[in-house]
């Protein structure tokens, strides 16, 4: 059987469990043998495991196209069979899940390779080499879980993966659990992990409610059965409930208003994690979920509009915060939230192709941006160390140690950078490619996908009013904050000595970035708005039904391009023309006043949540613990009711019952036995003749009885 025959007959579909089990194998190898393996071997095993999963994903996609996109399910294992309830682990390969598999394993593999170089240095800066292996174990586990999520054939399997990636996210955000983001000993990173987990728990609860409602109403969790039942007897109330509960899950996992707060804090994780989990793959699970549930969302316009508005509001809201951030990764984090808002808005409007298209291109350029930011941070870190050693040459060693410990340097703060294009030219060009793609300038990937979303928003403006306006403003701000970042990081004068000593990253980090950069530049080719180039649209048609390929609308494209250029021009006016000097306040601070203070402080959302939710919750918990648990429950109930009652009962049982009755019976029995034996012992007087008399009398008595009876 040759290759194309194998593809045509669907032979490769049997390979789909490997998507999960290859990364799991890599994880197990590293877990069991990794301790004795070199760093290179550990990284290679993890990368190969992920790379092979990519190969499988490619084979699956090839088979799908060879079999004309027919959806395939592969029953893998029985899971729960109770009466009529049958929950199996079944894989589903269709064009939608195939796109996700390719993005996850493809971008994932590149990030694995990058991480070999990144973690090599990171564990040395943090002085804990043993954690290198753990990172790759978690990373492989994440890929496996993400594959379960995208390949599941029912809401339940999707949920298993959904929770699994949440766990990996938690583990990896708190990877340096005993540090903070500045590398100081602290619990800040662990708390960021907790925050992500708890915020996601709120969302997951909503998703669970959606699953319960689905099962209660449709009697199944399998996608096709649910959709069939839903379209056969559409009950708008139930379907609205399901889709809105699901939306809560989406806002948690995909970081939308109001549950987005965890994502900026999630930047505490190592940069490859930010790129892989918190930009390219996991956070897009919510978008995937909405597209997957498209048959449900298309039945209820109200819920769809809420989804679209949440996406659009998030896109704008997060973009405003990104403008006021100084940390290079925080800017990208808010940018990610904003871009996820674009995707959620798109899928909310029913523009599923545009949403998935933007998901894919965003995975390319945002992974590129994050990894380049990681390269910059490590470059600064290297500069910091080189600078510290430079000092050492001039002073004595002892003085250096004290100096080093006192100094808290933030390698991710853009105010510490400047003119890095000279020190890190490769990273600079890579970052530029990502930035232009994100800003949405033609012909970069982000332009095509974002433009398609904007065009859809404009075409559907009468059903979804306001979305187009919000997204356009968000697109303008996107270009602005990215421009601001470029001018601050790469141009102007070095604002610290560390920036003067920054060093370029090694090829193991830059080569994966180059591949991503190529994708970020040319990724738009997936779905160009020209006749015959709607590749992704046709590909997804097999799963989500016919989609009209939109032609290029010069009006929309023109406006968005002009807006982006204008935004970059403004950013040049503010940050490029007169570069920021060391210690100088942000030039936006004066003209915007309190608005900028709001942006700088994330609109005080965290503080608001603290005041409205966390503080009352803590107060309630304290009240309950002190008054209810301690004073009432422990002091009164335990001491007065249980302890005293038990003591009284025990006394009653011990004194009158045990001593008075049970013990007295035994005592009296013993006494009676003693008395009777004392009486009887007198009969044994030792005189033989008296015994003989007894015998005689006995005989006489018996004889007498026999005679006279």
């Amino acid at each position: 059987m040759n290759f194309s025959e194998a593809a045509n007959t669907g032979y490769f579909f049997g390979l789909v469990p490997l998507l999960v089990f290859l990364p799991l194998t890599g994880m197990l190898i590293n877990m069991i043998f990794g301790g004795k393996m070199s760093e290179k071997a550990v990284g290679t095993v993890a990368s190969v495991a992920s790379g092979l999963a990519f190969v499988v994903a490619v084979l699956l996609a090839y088979s799908l196209s060879a079999t004309h996109g027919h959806m395939q399910t592969v029953h893998f294992a029985e899971w729960i069979h109770i009466g009529d309830l049958k929950l199996d682990w079944t894989f589903r390969v269709d064009t939608l899940s195939s796109v996700m598999m390719l993005v996850v394993s493809g971008v994932g593999t590149l990030i694995h390779i990058y991480a070999i170089g990144y973690m090599h240095e990171d564990v040395r800066f943090k002085d804990d080499i043993k954690r290198f292996r753990r990172f790759f174990v978690f990373l492989n586990l994440f890929i496996a879980m993400m594959m379960i999520l995208v390949s599941g054939d029912s809401y339940l399997m999707l949920f298993v993966g959904w929770e699994g990636v949440g766990l990996c996210s938690f583990l990896l955000i708190g990877f340096w659990y005993d540090f903070d983001t500045l590398g100081q000993k602290s619990t800040a990173n662990a708390e960021a992990g907790k925050k992500a987990f708890i915020a996601n728990r709120v969302g997951d609860f909503g998703f669970l409610l959606a699953i319960f409602t689905t099962f209660w109403h449709f009697g199944s969790l399998q996608f096709d059965k649910v959709f069939e039942a839903a379209s056969a007897h559409p009950d708008p109330v139930v379907i609205s409930a399901i889709t809105l509960f699901m939306l809560i899950g989406v806002t948690g996992k995909s970081a939308q208003v109001p549950l987005y707060v965890w994502l900026p804090d999630a930047m505490a994780g190592p940069t490859p994690v930010s790129a892989l989990i918190h930009a390219a793959t996991m956070v897009t699970a919510g978008v995937y979920l909405v597209v997957r549930s498209a048959p449900l969302y298309s039945l209820v316009h109200g819920a769809s509009y809420i989804v679209a508005m949440i996406g659009a509001v998030t896109a704008l809201f997060a973009a405003t915060i990104a403008v006021g951030q100084y940390d290079i990764k925080k800017v990208l984090a808010y940018s990610t939230i904003s871009q996820l808002g674009f995707m959620v808005a798109a899928v909310g409007m029913g523009a599923y192709v545009a949403g998935i298209f933007h998901l894919a291109t965003h995975a390319f350029f945002k992974a590129l941006l994050f990894l380049s930011a990681g390269s910059i941070i490590l470059g600064m870190e290297r500069g910091h160390h080189a600078h510290a050693h430079h000092d050492e040459d001039h002073g004595d060693g002892h003085a250096h140690v004290e100096h080093h410990e006192e100094e808290v340097f933030d390698p991710g703060d853009m105010r510490n950078m400047g003119n890095l294009r000279k020190r890190m030219p490769v990273t600079f060009w890579l970052y530029m490619a990502g930035t232009l793609a994100l800003a949405g300038l033609p012909p970069f990937a982000g332009f095509w996908s974002k433009d398609e979303i904007l065009l859809d928003a404009k075409l559907h403006a009468e059903h979804f009013p306001g979305v187009y306006l919000l997204l356009s403003i968000a697109a303008f701000m996107t270009a602005f904050y990215m421009g601001r970042q470029i001018w601050m990081v790469f141009f102007g004068k070095e604002r610290t000595e560390v920036a003067e000593h920054a060093q370029e990253s090694p090829p193991v980090m830059t080569v994966p970035l180059m591949i991503l950069a190529v994708l970020a530049v040319f990724g738009g080719a997936l779905n160009l708005p020209f006749e015959g180039f709607h590749n992704l649209g046709h590909w997804l048609e097999y799963t989500i039904g016919h989609v009209e390929g939109l032609p290029l609308d010069l009006g929309v494209a023109g406006i968005s391009t002009v807006l982006a250029l204008l935004a970059i021009f403004f950013s040049w006016l503010l940050y490029g023309k007169n570069p920021l000097k060391a210690g100088q306040a942000d030039p936006l601070k004066k003209p915007l006043g309190f608005l900028f203070t709001g942006m700088e402080n994330k609109w005080f959302v965290d503080e608001g949540y603290k005041a409205v939710i966390i503080d009352p919750f803590v107060k309630l918990a304290k009240f309950l613990s002190i008054n209810l648990d301690w004073n009432f429950w422990h002091d009164w109930f335990h001491e007065s009711v249980i302890y005293a009652g038990f003591k009284g009962l025990a006394r009653f049982l011990s004194e009158p019952i045990d001593m008075g009755i049970i013990n007295a019976i035994a005592d009296k029995l013993a006494e009676m036995t003693k008395r009777s034996s004392e009486g009887l012992s007198r009969l044994q007087n030792g005189f033989v003749r008296s015994y003989a008399l007894s015998v005689l009398l006995g005989v006489v008595a018996i004889l007498g009885y026999l005679l006279f009876k």
């Binding site: 012992s681 044994q684 007087n685 030792g686 005189f687 033989v688």
Partner: protein, 102 residues
């Protein structure tokens, strides 16, 4: 045995038995008690042979032989015990032998 009614034999046997029993009860000398016991055995023997003769059956006479054999053996053991007791206590007064009283 013509002319003599069996009632006389039984009467004699009863008298002998009562004498023997009284002897056992009232005398303190172990040897005398012993002799009284023999008297009671022989009273029984007498009754056996009397009924044997009346009933024309040899069973009673066979029993008498057995009793005499047992009596002989009993005498042998009993006298040995009395001798042993006398050796240790220098007396054969049964009222002195009361170590097992309660």
């Amino acid at each position: 045995m013509e002319g003599v009614s069996v009632n006389y034999y039984i009467g004699l046997s009863a008298i002998l038995f009562i004498i023997g029993a009284l002897g056992v009860l009232v005398r303190r000398n172990a040897l005398v008690i012993f002799m009284s016991v023999e008297l009671m055995l022989n009273a029984a023997n007498l009754a056996f042979v009397a009924f044997s003769s009346v009933n024309n059956s040899l069973d009673g006479q066979i029993f008498v032989f057995f009793i005499m054999t047992v009596a002989a053996a009993e005498v042998a053991v009993g006298l040995a015990l009395i001798v042993a007791i006398f050796r240790s206590k220098k007396s054969i007064d049964v009222d002195q032998i009361n170590l097992l009283k309660g």
